[in-house]
């Protein structure tokens, strides 16, 4: 019963009048959170309902019960949050030492950082940790606006090598050395 309520009110449903539609969407972007919660709830419920549970399972509460409760909870919360947002409720964006909320979000930096992180994850096995880590540090610093091409790569290399040595050799936490460590 809660499901259709939310679906009707999400931006993908019946479109509001064309005039000011974009600004309405921007003002109500929090509805996206409701959509995600709704999707997550459906996912959890589907997974729970399609589970084939062994009949011999002990006890009255099987592995399905808690997922069913959590999934239903997600649907209910998605609906309640949608109501709250449509009534004008807004989540407070988090503040902090280095955060300036007066400017719009800088999506380019976030995307760049995500890309750099994924790239490093892919490279860590073929190139080894020292190289992939240095690329991650330099790439992230670059994405965040540092343009010191003389200093940045050097700092990145030192941080990565020292971390590798400390973890791998001193603390006993193995990290892949890669071809570079094979040469050294």
């Amino acid at each position: 019963m809660t499901t259709p309520t939310t679906a009707d009110r999400t931006p993908d449903g019946t479109p509001p009048p064309a005039t000011g539609r974009r600004s309405w969407l921007r003002d109500h972007s929090e509805l996206g959170v409701c959509v995600l919660l709704l999707a997550l709830g459906v996912l959890v419920l589907t997974d729970a309902l399609t589970m084939d549970v062994d009949i011999t399972q002990r006890g009255p509460v099987g592995p399905k019960t808690v997922p069913l409760v959590v999934g239903t909870g997600l649907l209910v919360v998605a609906a309640l949050l949608a109501v709250d947002v449509l009534r004008g409720g807004r989540g407070q964006a988090e503040t902090g030492e280095d955060i300036d909320l007066s400017e719009p979000a800088d999506w380019r930096t976030v995307l760049l950082l995500t890309g750099v992180f994924l790239g490093a994850a892919v490279l860590i096995e073929p190139l080894g940790f020292p190289v992939a880590g240095a690329l991650l540090f330099w790439g992230a610093a670059f994405a965040l606006g540092s343009r010191r091409f003389d200093r940045d790569p050097l700092i990145a290399a030192v941080v990565s090598l020292v971390t590798y040595a400390v973890f791998n050799n001193l603390l006993g936490v193995p990290l892949p050395g890669g071809p570079l460590m094979g040469v050294l």
Binding site: M51, V53, P63, G73, G96, E97, F117, L144, A156, V173
Partner: protein
Amino acid sequence: MNALNSLLDGFGTALTPLNLLWAAIGVLLGTAIGVLPGIGPAMAVALLLPVTYGLEPTGAFIMFAGIYYGAMFGGSTTSILLNTPGESAAVVAAMEGNPMAKSGRGAQALAAAAIGHFAGGMVGTVLLVALAPTVADLAVDIGAPDYFAIMVLAFIAVTSVLGSSRIRGLASLLIGLTIGLVGLDQMTGQQRLTFGSLQLADGVDVVIVAVGLFAIGEALWVAAHLRRRAPDPIPVGRPWLGRADVKRTWKSWARGPFIGFPFGAIPAGGAEIPTFLSYVTEKRLSKHKDEWGKGAIEGVAGPESAASASAAGTLVSMLTLGLPTTAVAAVMLAAFQQYGIQPGPLLFEREPDLVWGLIASLFVGMVLLLALNLPLAPVWAKLLRIPRPYLYAGILFFAAVGAYAVGGEVIDLVILLIIGLIGFGMRRYGLPVLPAIIGVILGPAAEQQLRRALQISDGSVTGLVNTPFSVIVYAVVILLLAWPLVRKVLPRKAART
């Protein structure tokens, strides 16, 4: 109980040269990381988790204790010298501490904070020694229904006491519970939310969730809104206090712990509420009311002492019940689980060396903190000037190290990033992070206790409320849930805190 003897044994463990070294490294690392702007105690502990992977448990937890206290102290240094705290417990320190620093009394503010931390931590840890064994003894007899009740209380408290919006807290909790569901069902081995993936069958490691939500989420969120010009920290010399200042502050130091400790032990968000209560109390009792808002030293001393004692209170619930009441405790609990140790009433019997070594090292850590931080404060202040691109690149870098070190799997880095993006979205839309992490950690445990309780009662729901203890706990839960309704009905005369 011969808590005193056990404590002496604990000192025997904590004062071995190697453990002393771990404590010192922990304090130094914790303070250094905690001072860095944008890094609160929870992120500091999460980022430093991998440092301890190679250590044996006792050494690791001794180091953790140092990191915890160090990071809390570091956080207050940041708020005094920068005045834009990101972490709620340090907000109060900025209210009087920053005006003091601006008017050239930064050294005194830092000294009041450092000694406040020392005093609060000492009193708090003494209370921990006195109370924890008793609580553990009492808790040995409580069964599955009681545990389940306590966990329900933790869920409700963490979503409704903290933050401005209950519905957002609940959303966060449910996200955490969902992540906790991933993997094999503990009792039947049934796959849940694994989508046939072998890697997911082991579940999502709590460390990865913690690092993702706290470190990656925060770094991405800051990156999206990075201040073009970093705020200028106020330069400061070596902290010291004159006789007149000591005369004004010693009572505040002494009062703080008794406000902080109880709040740390209950699931009410750790240091946030007690620091504020301490601030209000000190303001009311102060003889220098005209100075408040312009830099009253009591306003730094009391709250800092309360914050430090609340950290000790947090450890009571964490060690004796396995109940994390703050984000830091949640991360520490995850660390215990890494070693296959389950904190709870039996911990004191099964791992006396570990527990008492840890408690003794709290005392050691506090002395080290005081000894190191007074002379090193100018060095810490320099850390505030770190270029922001390096700082946040470093956070991403160490988060990657931590996640990769968990199991040496690339897929963990991808999961880390996804959870980081969830953390980013939560910060954008005001979903608090703490309920999610509590949900991940306590969710599976709560499910297990629920199923155990219902097995004993053969499926009858009365099996959940058949002990006096669980009934009392559920009464508190109902009270918490009904509180906003009650407040609406009652005439508005209750003073707002």
